[in-house]
């Protein structure tokens, strides 16, 4: 089963490429011209998102550097320990919505400190694997088309993150505790 899944992961990209290019050729699309035509936008999009990325990433970096994450984690510790949530994983719950690389860093820390087969490592793995960095996605996707009034998009993203955290705790307690 796992081998099959890994195989699919490996082949997904090559198969996608072959399919698109072959259909293009068969349909007599000038694929080289159309490729370069589409690729021209790459630079434009990347430059367009810079202001949005700067606003979000500077804000998030400052927030993380201030020690606020640890303060929130400490505040929640007593409550969450009742639900069999290891305190090590608390910063991860907050960080995973803010920064993908930071979440992976915290996860590696937990894995190294609490041991390969500990409950904390398993819970952290599920929490990191099941999430996407909400703030980053928001900055990139809305930034690319110049949306500044985001309405309820962030609230929904963060609430979905919380749902994910609760689900992760419940599932891991059922399976691994």
């Amino acid at each position: 089963m796992t081998n099959l899944l890994n195989l699919i992961s490996l082949w997904a990209l090559p198969v996608l490429l072959i399919t698109v290019l072959t259909i293009g050729i068969l349909k007599k699309v000038p694929i080289y011209e159309e490729f370069t035509e589409g690729a021209k936008d790459g630079f434009k999009v990347a430059v367009n998102i810079i202001p949005y990325l700067v606003a979000i990433i500077v804000g998030i970096s400052m927030f993380r550097a201030s020690g606020a994450v640890e303060m929130i984690a400490n505040g929640m510790a007593s409550v969450l320990s009742k639900f069999n949530v290891p305190t090590d994983t608390l910063p991860l719950m907050i960080v995973r919505s803010l920064s993908g690389s930071a979440a992976l860093g915290v996860f590696s820390d937990i894995a190294h400190n609490s041991g390969a087969d500990s409950f904390a490592t398993k819970l952290a793995a599920v929490m990191v694997g099941s999430s996407e960095t909400t703030f980053y996605v928001l900055a990139v996707y809305f930034g690319a088309v110049g949306i500044s009034k985001i309405r309820y998009a962030l609230i929904v993203g963060l609430l979905a993150d919380i749902i994910g955290i609760v689900a992760a705790v419940l599932v891991c307690n059922l399976m691994f505790a």
Binding site: T2, V20, A39, I60, M71, Y141
Partner: protein
């Protein structure tokens, strides 16, 4: 967004000062700004590549075909865009790429989808319901195999790393469905940018 931005900056400075980490906070400002540009620049090449591939897929009619195939699903989820909009095909490509963990292909597809959704949007600076829904679905990070996490677990000598695949999939599905339901509920309470056009297109 104005309040969030204000909150992030001002609260960080105040909490940083309380914790005696003001210097770190100021440093984070510099490094964060630099990092943003690095991320954007590093996206250029891969973005250009996949946007090029997407253009071929669009011109060959592949995107239109996928859109047609997914019509039953997208008509319910994205009921505010015309069901033959290329956005539907782009959204489908974005989710396929996400599901297989092709993050660097998923982002250009997603941006392409946003651009198409923007064409249907009346107020260009305000997110439409469809855009919020699409963003919510993306922030849930639906993925079949968490490749990066597995790599870390293997790296630290975890005995049976694949046992986390099933729970992760389950959790990400719950969050994904949650995002869709929440987006559909919240859209009732937030007015759209401009008053909806009184045009019935069916």
């Amino acid at each position: 967004m104005n309040y969030i931005f204000y909150f992030l900056i001002v609260v960080s400075i105040i909490i940083g000062a309380i914790n005696g980490r003001l210097q770190e906070v100021v440093n984070a400002l510099m490094s964060g700004a630099e990092l943003s540009v690095k991320i954007a620049i590093s996206l250029i090449g891969i973005m250009a590549f996949w946007l090029g591939v997407m253009n071929i897929a669009e011109k060959s009619g592949l995107i239109a075909w996928i859109s047609k195939l997914l019509k039953p699903v997208t008509r319910i989820l994205f009921n505010e865009i015309p069901s033959d909009s290329p956005a539907v095909g782009d959204i489908a490509m974005n989710f396929t790429a996400n599901a297989f963990g092709l993050a660097n292909a998923a982002t250009p597809f997603g941006i392409k989808a946003m651009e198409e959704l923007q064409k249907e949007n009346d107020d260009k600076s305000t997110a439409s319901n469809s855009m919020c829904l699409f963003l919510g679905m993306n922030t849930a990070g639906f993925q079949l195999i968490p490749t990066t996490v597995l790599a870390v677990l293997v790296g630290i000598g975890y005995k049976n790393p694949t046992e986390i695949i099933a729970p992760t999939l389950f959790v990400t599905l719950i969050a994904f469905i949650g995002a869709i339901v929440l987006a559909k509920v919240f859209q009732k309470f937030y007015p759209t940018g401009k008053v909806n056009k009184e045009v019935q297109d069916d």
